[in-house]
């Protein structure tokens, strides 16, 4: 009777074990690599999150005075950094509309020509002239928002003379 198969032996037990170990190691390496990448991303992501949140918390500034000049239709605001790190002023809003400070004198805007992206050192105060453009009615309420690049805001509400 002819044998259907020349040999009934497939692979040896040793080879089979080695193959299984190899497969297991490969899967384990993939698993370790995946875990390392995932947890690394998680770790670095949380680090970035906490660092940004921490900096946002440490940034604090206030509008300490609003001065109205009815002659030239300017509103002067004084912003002080009372936080632990430098504040980065990104935008100013007057009654909901973005407005750019017009810095002409040397003592305004910390000597810079523009208040956009202005770095305000700790405990420094900056005078920002806002050109309203026209006369205002006495009693008009102005809401002034100074926003930083970290998402913080200082809001001042003042009634025009």
């Amino acid at each position: 009777m002819r044998r259907k198969w020349r040999s009934r032996l497939a692979v040896s037990t040793i080879i089979a074990n080695m193959l299984m170990i190899l497969i297991t190691l490969s899967l384990a390496a993939i698993l370790v690599a995946w875990a390392g990448t995932s947890f690394g991303a998680f770790s670095s992501g949380s680090q970035l999150f906490f660092a940004q949140r921490g900096q946002a918390l440490q940034e604090r500034f206030v509008v300490e005075m609003v001065f109205f000049n009815a002659t030239n239709h300017y509103i002067y605001i004084f912003v002080r950094n009372v936080g632990l790190i430098d504040a980065h002023l990104a935008a100013i809003y007057l009654n909901g509309n973005a407005i750019t400070a017009t810095c002409s004198a040397s003592w305004q805007c910390l000597g810079k020509s523009s208040a956009t992206n202005l770095d305000l050192p700790v405990q420094q105060v900056v005078e920002l002239p806002l050109n309203y453009g026209s006369s205002w009615t006495s009693g008009t309420v102005f809401t002034i928002v100074v926003a930083s690049s970290r998402g913080n805001q200082a809001v001042a509400t003042a009634r025009g003379p």
Binding site: L25, V32, S43, Q47, M65, P161
Partner: protein, 379 residues
């Protein structure tokens, strides 16, 4: 062995990640705590201006160009405070620093300075310990700058900014307190709690009672102005306490007839406050080393146009508040009645057919805003 290492690695990797994240969270939480503490400190600040708020107006030592004023504040908070900026009347263009003899008004911003410098304040005075009363902060303005503007209506506004971002403000002069209200009776009584010594000018004797001096009857058709001297006199001991400081004098003047009364006050024989009939825009003349601010019984500045000589409504209890502030710091200790504070009431017109009298119903003395005497008011 290899399997064990793999399993161990699988444990270590998340463990390291968790530890790292925990450390970051701890750092973040410490920042949260630090900022929360700053908020607590910030909200613990509490500055309160104390009477007289501001006084001075003299040349500062070491700076001939500096006009110095002293600001009195008390730290009633539980934490030390550092003042980093002071704004005076700087909310609008029309009430800023006023340059004498000009119409120029500007922002009045004072920053800390180690030495007397115009538009600065003493940096050594900027630190106020918790609970420290009557702390003096020396303000330096430029010569020619009037501060505070005593004719400003309603009043001067002083803003104090601290390094933690708190803003405290007060108005100068302080609104008169304890003016009292008219009571029942005929003539009505004014209950103000504190009564000052009234004085009959003829014998220089002080008594602890209210004094009213009836005016003489003028002949009909008379045309000359007649003075009725009704002098409230403040005891020497009280004025000694006042020396070097300030005082509020709440003076109630009463006129029984239909005519008005014009009054004047003097110190040591020198007129310090009187109606100025020559200048309608300056109804009250202020002289000497004092600032007199006149309020009516509603607590509103009384600036009756001069010429009409009607600073006091006739025919009833009507009182004015004279807030006298000694502007220089040189002590003044009156030793004789003549050096004391006195007031004079004068009838507007010395003609009529009926008796005219004017009385100083009472004089109330406040030292640094506190009552010093309590006597029942006149009836």
């Amino acid at each position: 062995m290899i399997s064990g290492m793999i399993v161990l690695g699988l444990f270590i990797i998340p463990l390291v990640a968790v530890v790292t994240v925990s450390q970051q969270y701890d750092t973040y939480q410490s920042t949260v705590d630090a900022m929360a503490q700053k908020d607590i400190d910030r909200n613990s600040e509490n500055l309160q201006a104390v009477y007289p708020g501001l006084k001075g107006g003299f040349t500062a030592n070491g700076c001939s160009k500096c006009n110095q004023y002293n600001m009195s504040v008390t730290n009633i908070g539980k934490i030390a405070v550092q003042i980093v900026r002071i704004y005076v009347n700087s909310t609008q263009q029309t009430t800023g620093c006023t340059v004498t003899n000009t119409n120029i008004k500007s922002q009045c911003i004072l920053s800390p300075r180690p030495n007397p410098t115009p538009f600065g304040f003493d940096s050594y005075d900027s630190y106020i310990n918790p609970g420290e009363p009557n702390h003096i902060v020396r303000l330096w303005l430029s010569q020619g700058i009037t501060l505070p503007n005593v004719t400003l209506t309603p009043s001067n506004s002083i803003w104090i900014v601290t390094n933690r971002g708190r803003i405290f403000s007060f108005n100068w002069p302080f609104p008169p307190a304890g003016q009292g209200v008219p009571g029942a009776g005929s003539p009505p009584t004014i209950y103000t709690g504190v009564m000052m010594v009234a004085y009959n000018g003829t014998d220089n004797s002080a008594t602890d009672s209210c004094h009213s001096e009836k005016g003489i009857t003028l002949p009909a058709g008379g045309t000359s102005r007649t003075l009725h001297f009704v002098n409230p006199w403040i005891a020497t001991t009280v004025m000694t306490d006042v020396a070097g400081g300030t005082t509020n004098l709440y003076v109630a003047v009463y006129s029984t007839n239909s005519l008005s009364v014009q009054i004047a006050f003097s110190w040591g024989g020198m007129v310090i406050l009187t109606a100025d009939a020559s200048d309608a825009s300056k109804p009250w003349f202020i002289g000497g080393p004092y600032v007199g601010i006149v309020y009516n019984q509603s607590g509103i500045r009384q600036f009756t146009p001069a010429g009409t000589n009607v600073p006091i409504n006739p025919g009833g209890d009507y009182y004015l508040v004279f807030q006298l502030t000694q502007q220089n710091l040189s002590p003044k200790s009156p030793t004789a009645p003549g050096d004391s504070f006195s007031g004079t009431a004068a009838m507007n017109n010395g003609y009529g057919t009926s008796a005219e009298d004017a009385s100083f119903r009472q004089v109330d003395v406040f030292l640094n805003g506190l009552y010093v005497r309590t006597v029942t008011g006149c009836t």
